[in-house]
Amino acid sequence: MTPAKRTSRLRWHRLSSLGERSPERLCHLRLMLVSLALAAGVCGAAAVAIDAPAPMQSALEYYSQGHYARATAVVDDMLAAPGASERAWIIAAECYNRQNQPAKAIEAYQQFLKVCDSTPTRAYVLDQMRRCREAAPLRPATLPSAALSDQQRKAMAAVGAAVTKTTRHFAVHARNTDLATLIATLAEESLRRICGDIMPQEYPHVVDINVWIDKNDYAANAPGAPEWSGGRFNLTVSGGVVTRRIDLTQLNEDRTLSTMTIDRVLPHETCHLVLKEYFGDAPSPLFLNEGLAMLAEPAVDNDRLLLAAAALSGEDGISMDKLLLMDQSDMDHRGTFYAQSLSLTQFLHSRLGREQFSTFLGNLKDGCTVTDSLERSLCMPPDPNFLEGLSAAWQTYALQQGQDLRALETASR
């Protein structure tokens, strides 16, 4: 709707609503009349103590109290008046947004943008508009292997001639054409998730993905990889040439297709590679490295979240201050470490939001501790009780998540 059309609609709305004589609207009218009278100096001498609130202020008051319809009505009246401040559009936009009317909210945000004279405010409004556009309900994530038929799985377990499938960011070398194609597609999806949602950045590189036939083939061609691992990433610089490489396995020990490879290992190792490139020589906390890699998987592993909740509610849990500093030499309870790392990373990512999480990673890259990085990304002064408060908030989050997941499990049974 154009502003002109909207203004005429608002005028009509205002006139028609006068006929309704609802107490709410009469109240607005009274406020406006009092304000106008004060402005005209009618009550000038009497206005010793406080003036009646200006319409903008009463709209803000309604908005802050959650009376969105009332706030919008006041704004409508204001905007219909000649010479009205177009800044009031943002109140209407926020009201529509909170009333789950994204289309109207976007329209109002756009009107506000025309008079916005502040860079941070403009960035905020654009972000709100983006959120409104993305307001469509999300589909529950599923694992890629779940979409494969038995026939496809069998076909992808076949070992044939070496093939290479290339996409924008990946060159997949495998012994099965369908599998190479699938892995290339999934690798692009993973990268989009990692560089789009988890840690926004450009990734103008090409990665070689080698899919080795089985564990023995993998061990022979990916030297130095831990025996237990089903995949690994590698970033090497030699003679000024950077090589990015991921090694995977095609088959399980029973010669069936390794769904673990496509569901978990591929996105996990891709994320590690991106993280390694991002942090460079700067140390990155292990919990975050592993947590982000698990978060990059297309569907979060609920068993791990349940384990984290159980560990935190009992005595087996790793305390937050310990978790933040753990490295490979501290791996006494690998399962708990991974579970809690996922839980804490997911907590930080969801609570901070994309922008702040990105700033948090940037601060870590600059060499700050986790606590400093968080405080910096929140733009707050150092607080000696910050870590304690954060630990308590995470624990509450993890336990609540555990309860929700158990309830879901019970319901699905």
């Binding site: 908005y63 109140i91 609570r351």
Partner: protein, 417 residues
């Protein structure tokens, strides 16, 4: 004002010191000040210095009655049982700057009439809720009323009363700040902007920078609406607490919204500091002087941000200090290498006593250089004891070792002498 003029003949015996204030000389000039006469000299102490004249050049000295003496006369002339007359003298004493005496007189007025408004005000009492309270208490009550939203009482009665009893700049600033807050709470944004602009121009420390920043925020949002780009306080979301203000439009009549706006302004200044800090870090390896000037500029931006939100840039200031310490440590390492080289030369040569003595003196010189650097580190790190504890302890340990070494070398020097 009554003035007694004494014409004193130079032949009279003068007291050693006179509380007089004007000396008229034979050439017609007049000097004002505290006069003392000693022998054949007359000295006039003036605010900018003293002047001594021969007695022969002085025609006369006019002695003015001091305010204290005038007060004494006034008190003698009035009826001490008259509330009005006593009050008049008390008010006169205030105008003369005789605060201590004025308080005594006001107290006498209150003995005659405990409800005398001017005497109460003179003694620093304001009437709030039918009770007389002193300034500090009155300010506290006013703050509570502001929190309770009683803007009418504040702007109508309390602030004018506080303005009456505010003594000195500090108290006046407190009252004006409270006035600004009341204007904001009452939605009088233009008035509040003026109040804070005036307050902001009164000084240069953090408090005044904050006042100026409030004026700046109000000037940019004349309708009193501020758009928060994130919930406030910023940690609420992470900690799972309900924010006090959600992101979006909000009224600056709420104190918490003003805090959020100040934080945003502080962030802008912090971002400027961060940019300078990054430039300083880039320059550190190649151009130390440029790096140092960028560090200083960054520190200034951070200070400006901290004026609005206390310690908001502390971690950046710690980072600057850490980088500076690292630079000093490089210097320390270079000095230590020079010391080692001098030490090695000392062991290898078959030296004369004088050469040996000179070498030991060089060693002490190197030790002194390192000690100075370590002391600099300790000084730099002192404000950030919690964050830089390792740097402090490291420097302290090295300093202790060097002090022991220096003592040894000085002893050697004594033996060699």
């Amino acid at each position: 004002m009554r003035r007694l003029v004494f014409l004193l003949s130079l032949t009279l015996a003068w007291p050693a010191v006179l509380s007089a204030d004007q000396v008229v000389t034979s050439d017609g000039r007049t000097f004002s000040g505290k006069v003392s006469v000693e022998g054949d000299s007359v000295t006039i102490e003036m605010p900018y210095g003293s002047l001594t004249l021969p007695r022969s050049q002085v025609v006369r000295i006019e002695i003015q009655e001091t305010p204290e003496e005038q007060l004494e006369h006034r008190l003698k002339e009035i009826d001490s049982k008259s509330e009005t007359e006593l009050l008049g003298v008390g008010l006169w004493a205030v105008r003369q700057g005789l605060d201590r005496q004025a308080r005594k007189i006001f107290q006498q007025v209150l003995d005659l009439n405990p409800e005398n408004v001017q005497a109460r005000q003179g003694l620093g009492y304001a009437r709030i809720d039918n009770a007389w309270v002193e300034f500090d208490k009155a300010i506290e009550l006013a703050r509570s009323k502001l929190e309770a939203g009683d803007v009418a009482a504040l702007s109508g009665r309390i602030l004018p009363a506080l303005r009456q009893i505010a003594r000195g700049v500090e108290q006046q600033i407190l009252v004006e700040d409270l006035t600004g807050q009341t204007q904001l709470r009452g939605g009088k944004f233009a008035e509040a902007a003026r109040t804070y602009a005036v307050l902001g121009a009164k000084g240069k420390d953090n408090r005044f920078l904050r006042f100026a920043a409030i004026a700046e925020i109000l000037a940019a949002n004349t309708d009193g609406m501020y758009v928060l780009t994130e919930p406030y306080p910023p940690s609420a979301g992470l900690m799972g607490r309900q924010p006090q203000v959600q992101a979006g439009p909000a009224s600056l009549s709420r104190a918490i919204v003003l805090d959020a706006a100040l934080k945003d302004l502080a962030r802008q200044r912090m971002e400027a500091g961060k940019k300078l800090l990054a430039e300083a870090k880039d320059a550190q390896a190649t151009n130390k002087a440029l790096a140092e000037s960028k560090f200083a500029a960054a520190a200034k931006s951070f200070e400006a941000a901290d004026a609005l939100v206390a310690d908001i840039t502390r971690s950046y200031r710690v980072e600057i200090t850490r980088l500076r310490i690292a630079t000093i440590r490089q210097q320390v390492d270079a000095d230590a290498k020079r010391f080692d080289a001098a030490m090695a030369a000392l062991g290898n040569k078959n030296m004369s006593r004088n050469d040996y003595r000179e070498s030991v003196m060089k060693l002490i010189h190197h030790v002194n250089a390192v000690r100075t650097s370590l002391t600099d580190i300790m000084e730099l790190a002192k404000p950030y004891r919690r964050e830089l504890i390792l740097e402090i302890q490291w420097a302290q340990t090295d300093l202790n070792k060097l002090t022991a070494m220096r003592d040894l070398l000085v002893g050697e020097l004594d033996d060699a002498g």
